[in-house]
């Protein structure tokens, strides 16, 4: 009886796995048929020998699941997870990422680059060997060897092998990195590729995993404890280490200036600019000052974090930020001079700057951040501090905040034009929208499927106030886009109240359909009310933002980067304000009505008011995003505000982790980045299918999202273990 049940389970699982294989075969199969022959792609996928391979995948999955109980003890051993993560990163880097941006190499991935390089004589044999001139597929081979060594040492507990794997891994990583920079030197094109960087990071992870394998013989890895020890030992110290690494790469191997045919490192800069009229301080900076500053900032950061003296912390912050400013002025100067003195393809201020100085700025920011963390650590005695935030993770969180900040500030300039546009028009705007919707969905627990309507209202408000709609504002109300922000906030606030007041007493799903209807109504009005909104054609020529404030005079519009920094300010301010809100009495009231509305009411919370506030605050954030969108893109029409977008924003919030600010940001960033990333990997039309699959898998395996809210995570585990809740209830009274 028991056996047959087990057998049944196995058959079911096998069938499921095989079905999964078939679906995968369909997913990577041929493209669609024609109108008269539907079955074409279907037949091609199902009735070709290729299917056997995918059935094999299914079978492998079946075996893995069935024997998981035998595999998993190895997987929880110390070092196994870094090893796996590193291997995955290297595989991704080899298989998915760009290794060069040169248009001489089609696709720019490792495979194409390898075949190109191994046939080129002008490159050193050291480099060519890595790319497979001797043994084809060398990078993959090396990866397999390193990982196999690591796995064997893990299973058999052979420290010697683990040391070998660690050393070999590091060597291979460095080799690949050097080989790639040699190639991009040879190709002499601006290089934005990330493949080699990710690969070396992956190998570093592998090496550290092997290092742990060699050192630790316990059966159960204590990852959380390890992270706690590392980040709690000297708060901010890891950041100083990271800053040092980034800074050294910037100073030694990164490109500093990249007009056509010239890609000098820092060492080549002095030569390039000698006699071009660089100011004394800049030329000093480029030749020796930068090193001095780097060493001083580095030393201060280490001193501040290690000794945790306030004086050092302050000095570290001041020097770090000063160094950023100095680097920026130098960059401005040498790029303008480069433009004036006519280097080939140099376009003037802020153009053609390589990744080096930006990375250095990032490193200096990290040093300053390390000082800041050390400073905060010194005086953290705040009784009213938010108590939900676990103390253990907060050091790690601070480090992450600084790294994300440094990345947000200094990564975009090093990206390609294409990615800069994506970062602004897709990622940034949807991050702002997700932050707004998180208030409604995540905090107050109200499902809003018409959120994009407020975005539309914000956009159309901007169009109206800038006089680009058929109806014109009175003269005194003719505004620039930035001045429209307060108006958009107020109008969206009112719209949120107007929608919320009659509908908010509806329960979850009813509210969902009503908000969905509201979103559609707004769009239909925009399509049909020709005389007000210009119908399907929409509004054209919405001006770009300007600031005239006394001597300050900023005009946006030349590049996506300018908009990015504007957006970053908007996002930063919103995050700061909302973070306070989450831990205020209103934030707690939201959590209360989300958890138990009846109890919240009996405790004296005016639920209607609190819900309305969530609606209004969420809506006004959306309005700000709308203003930005309209003025950045310059034209809007109703097609920008489809129901689909509303649903997507909800998906971003939940994917990231409902009710968590970092989660909403991460969710929106990931899911808006993914389609652009997939452009290189799968046929363009298939992208949505893959995104759907990713969302589905995420919800199946991690329903709480990427970065779950602390509060929500608790709810989830409580929900999960009905049994455990009962066992708590039985021995009542033993708690005290």
């Amino acid at each position: 009886m028991r056996n047959s049940g087990l057998f049944n389970d196995h058959v079911k699982r096998l069938l499921g796995c095989l079905a999964g294989g078939v679906v995968l075969a369909l997913m990577v199969g041929n493209q669609e048929g024609v109108q008269r022959d539907f079955g074409y792609a279907f037949r091609a996928a199902i009735f070709s020998p290729r299917l056997v391979v995918f059935l094999g995948f299914g079978l492998a999955l079946f075996v893995a699941i069935t024997y998981w109980s035998r595999i998993s003890p190895y997987f929880v051993r110390p070092g196994a997870r870094p090893l796996a993560a590193g291997a995955a990163a290297v595989v991704a880097s080899y298989g998915l990422l760009h290794w060069t941006d040169s248009n001489q190499v089609t696709g720019g991935k490792l495979g194409a680059l390898s075949s190109a390089v191994s046939g080129t004589d002008g490159i050193s044999s050291f480099t060519r060997t890595f790319f497979g001139s001797v043994v084809p597929g060398t990078p993959w081979l090396l990866l397999v060897v390193v990982v196999a060594l690591g796995v064997v040492s893990l299973v058999l507990r052979l420290p010697v092998l683990a040391w070998l794997a660690a050393g070999l891994g590091l060597l291979v990583g460095v080799w690949g990195y050097i080989a790639q920079s040699a190639v991009s030197d040879y190709l002499k094109t601006a290089d934005h590729s990330t493949g080699a960087q990710v690969a070396i990071l992956g190998y570093a992870a592998i090496a550290s995993g092997c290092f742990v394998i060699a050192r630790s013989q316990t059966d159960q890895a204590d990852t959380v404890g390890f992270i706690e020890r590392v980040f709690g030992w000297r708060p901010g110290f890891p950041l100083a280490v990271l800053g040092t690494a980034v800074g050294l790469v910037a100073l030694l191997t990164a490109t500093w200036f990249s007009p056509a045919d010239r890609n000098p490192h820092l060492s080549g800069m002095t030569n390039l600019f000698s006699g071009e009229g660089l100011s004394a301080i800049s030329s000093a900076y480029l030749s020796w000052l930068v090193w001095v500053i780097f060493v001083v900032a580095l030393a201060l950061a280490f001193a501040a974090t290690y000794l945790s003296r306030q004086a050092f912390s302050w000095a570290s912050i001041v020097i770090g930020l000063g160094a950023v400013v100095l680097t920026l002025t130098t960059m401005h100067e040498f790029s303008s001079i480069g433009g004036k003195s006519g280097f080939d393809g140099a376009n003037g201020p802020w153009q053609n700057i390589g990744a080096g100085p930006w990375m250095l700025c990032g490193a200096f920011t990290m040093f300053a951040g390390a000082g800041w963390i050390a400073l905060r650590q010194g005086r953290r005695v705040d009784p009213a501090a938010p108590t939900v935030v676990a103390k253990a993770g907060s050091n790690l969180n601070q480090v992450l905040i600084i790294v994300v900040l440094a990345g947000a500030l200094f990564y975009p300039p090093t990206a390609t034009q294409f990615w800069q546009t994506v970062i602004v028009a897709e990622i940034g705007i949807y991050v702002l929208l997700a932050i707004g919707l998180n208030v409604v969905v995540g905090w107050a627990g109200l499902l809003d499927l018409g959120f994009i309507a407020f975005y539309a209202i914000g956009s159309y408000t901007t169009a109206y106030l800038t006089g680009t709609l058929p109806i014109k504002p009175p003269d005194w109300l003719h505004l620039t886009p930035l001045a429209a922000i307060p108006f958009a906030i107020v109008i969206c606030l009112l719209a949120g109240l107007a929608l919320g007041a009659p509908t908010l007493r509806l329960r979850g799903d009813y509210l969902a359909i009503v908000t969905l209807g509201f979103g559609e109504i707004i769009r239909i009005v925009a399509v049909n009310a020709d005389k007000v909104t210009n119908g399907p054609k929409g509004a054209f020529g919405i001006p770009q933002p300007v600031i005239h404030l006394g001597p300050i005079h900023i005009q946006w519009g030349q590049s996506a980067l300018q908009f990015w920094y504007l957006l970053l300010v908007l996002i930063g301010v919103t995050v700061l304000l909302f973070n306070r809100l989450e831990h205020s009495r209103l934030g707690r009231a939201w959590a209360a009505i989300r958890e138990d509305e009846v109890a919240a009411q009996a405790t004296g919370i005016n639920t209607t008011r609190v819900k309305l506030l969530a609606f209004a605050i969420g809506a006004s954030t959306s309005g700000v995003a709308g203003v930005f969108f309209a003025s950045q893109i310059g034209y809007i029409n109703p097609d920008n505000f489809l129901l689909n977008n509303s649903i997507l924003v909800v998906a971003y919030v939940v994917f990231g982790g409902m009710g968590s600010l970092p989660g909403a940001i991460a969710g929106a960033a990931t899911l808006t980045w993914l389609p652009e990333f997939l452009k290189d990997q799968v046929p363009a039309e298939d992208r949505q299918m893959w995104i759907g699959a990713v969302i589905l898998l995420m919800m199946i395996f991690r329903p709480a999202g990427l970065i779950p809210a602390k509060r929500r995570a608790a709810e989830l585990s409580g929900f999960d273990g009905v049994k455990s809740a009962e066992t708590v209830a039985v021995p009542a009274g033993e708690g005290m």
Binding site: L577, R588, G604, A729
Partner: protein, 315 residues
């Protein structure tokens, strides 16, 4: 077991102030009459217990008193805090919410706090935060000042934290301040719910079967806690409870409901001898007849308790 036998001191006033004045309240659901012409008066400073077999209408009475249900007939007058005037909660715009019917949160703001039969905390908030939610419903600062971190908002935040810690100490949960409410033990959750209710600075607190599902030691603690709420905080207590020992030991007066009607009212000793009450318990809780028979002679060893076993599956 004898620790709880002494009756609590009664409020001394000879002409007691009225907190709740309930007159001829009738509540129907469809054809079922849940409360039938129930009248009672609750005085300031007293512990009044409502007892009765399951389905007698006790919780319906609570829900009518807190505005969850609106009775079809009768009147309910409230003057929860000292110095308040008696006002009808059924027909006074002060208690209207957006929907022109009595709103529970407004009743709460007029000084009536309650707990629930099946504990209703906010499980994903910490114990401290649960209480803060209650305390903060009395505060003024709005979202804008919270976002900007205005000084008055910070002061309120600090005050609510301090008050919440005081209440945690009061109910003996200081050590669990930062644990999630959902992770607390059952008895702790009960006490936390009481603390949250006290956070709203009530003049009256309504406790719906606070001892359900707790063990004897906890029951003693609870009785002590209720008495302290009554004496130290000067809060009038309206109590629904099945545990007769607990009720008899702490209540000043009792009201007995059966089938939605009030069948008796009076001091614990009188109620214990009341034939109608005994009949009600005998007639309805047929699973525990011996409990009712022992009720007659010796008041202090009485156990009219319909028992934690019967309660356990309810909660």
């Amino acid at each position: 077991m004898t620790a709880v036998t002494s009756t609590a001191p009664e409020p001394t006033a000879t002409n007691p102030e009225v907190v709740y004045d309930v007159k001829d309240v009738t509540l129907r659901f469809g054809g079922v009459t849940s409360l039938n012409k129930v009248s009672l008066q609750m005085h300031r400073g007293e512990i009044l217990a409502v007892i009765g077999p399951n389905g007698a209408g006790k919780t319906s009475l609570f829900n009518s008193l807190t505005g969850v249900y609106t009775p079809q007939e009768g009147s309910i007058m409230l003057a929860a805090r000292k110095g308040d005037e008696l006002t009808s909660i059924l027909h006074d715009p002060r208690f209207y919410g957006a929907r022109k019917s009595t709103a529970t949160h407004l009743i709460n703001r007029h000084g009536v706090a309650r707990t629930f039969q099946n504990i209703r905390l906010f499980p994903a908030l910490t114990a401290l935060e649960n209480i803060k939610v209650g305390v903060e419903t009395r505060q003024k600062s709005g979202p804008v000042s919270a976002m900007l971190g205005m000084p008055w908002q910070r002061r309120e935040e600090r005050e609510s934290t301090e008050r919440a810690y005081e209440l945690l100490r009061f109910v003996g949960l200081t050590a669990r301040a930062n644990d999630l409410a959902g992770a607390l033990a059952y008895g702790e959750q009960r006490r936390l719910e009481i603390a949250r209710a006290l956070g709203t600075e009530p003049g009256v607190i309504l406790l719906d079967e606070p001892a359900a599902g707790t063990n004897p030691a906890e029951k003693r603690e609870l009785a002590e806690l209720i008495r302290r709420i009554n004496v130290e905080d000067n809060v009038s207590v309206l109590l629904i409870e099945h545990d007769m020992k607990l009720v008899m030991s702490i209540a000043h007066r009792l009201v007995v409901l059966n089938f939605g009607e009030k069948i008796a009212e009076g001091k614990p000793a009188d109620i214990q001898r009341n034939p109608a009450v005994i009949a009600a318990y005998l007639g309805t809780t047929n699973d525990e007849p011996e409990a009712a028979t022992t009720a007659q002679p010796e008041p202090n060893t009485t156990d009219l308790d319909s028992g934690p076993a019967a309660e356990g599956d309810e909660s």
